[in-house]
Symmetry: C2
Subunit: 113 residues, 2 copies
Amino acid sequence: MNAPVAYYDQTPGVVFRERCERRVVHTKNLMTVIIDFGNGPWAEADPMHSHPHEQITYVASGAILFLSAGDEPRRLSTGDVFAVPSGVPDSIQLLSASARLIDSFQPVREDFL
Amino acid sequence: MNAPVAYYDQTPGVVFRERCERRVVHTKNLMTVIIDFGNGPWAEADPMHSHPHEQITYVASGAILFLSAGDEPRRLSTGDVFAVPSGVPDSIQLLSASARLIDSFQPVREDFL
C-alpha cells in the first residue's frame, strides 16, 4: 500500500484511560491520533505536560478547556483548533460528557507506537 | 500567545474554489488545514498531484473517494483517515454534497501561507 488508510470502524482503539481510546496513524515524520474521550466532564484539568513534538489539535466534537503556560485558559468546541509549539507546557480539561480530538504531531510520538 | 488558538467562527476562510474554503493553522514544522467543500458531489476526481510534504487527512464529515498511485480507489467517510508519504501521487473525488477534511502536513506548506 503506497498510501495507507485507516477505517475507523476497522481500527481497534487503544484504551489509555477508562472510556478513553486512541487510534494512531503515522507516516515517517508525521502522526495523527484520533482520541475519543467518554469520561467527561472532568472536575479539573490534567496536569500540565510538555514534549519536544509540535502539536496541532482539531476539536472534532465536544468542548474542552485548553490550558497553556503563560496564556489564559481558553474554551474550545467543535471546529476549533489549538497549536502547541515544541516544549510549551499544556493541558486540557474535558467540559462535555464526551469529545473527539484529532491530534497531529511532528515528529512521530514514539511513545504512542 | 505561547500556544495559539483558532476559533472556527472567528477565522475567515480562504476561498480556493467555488463553495470551498480552507482555514490554516501552523507551528514551525507542522500545519493543519480545515477544508470545507461545498461543491459536491464531483463527477470525477481531481487530477493526481504530489508534494514532498507528508500528509495525513482525517475525514470530519462527508464521503470521498481516495486515489493514490498504485492502490485501488478507497471510499472514506466520517472518522476515516488516509496517509500520504512524501512524493506519493494522490487525489480525491468528493462523493457527498459537502465534506470537511482535516489535512495535516509536515513540513509546513508554504503555498498555503
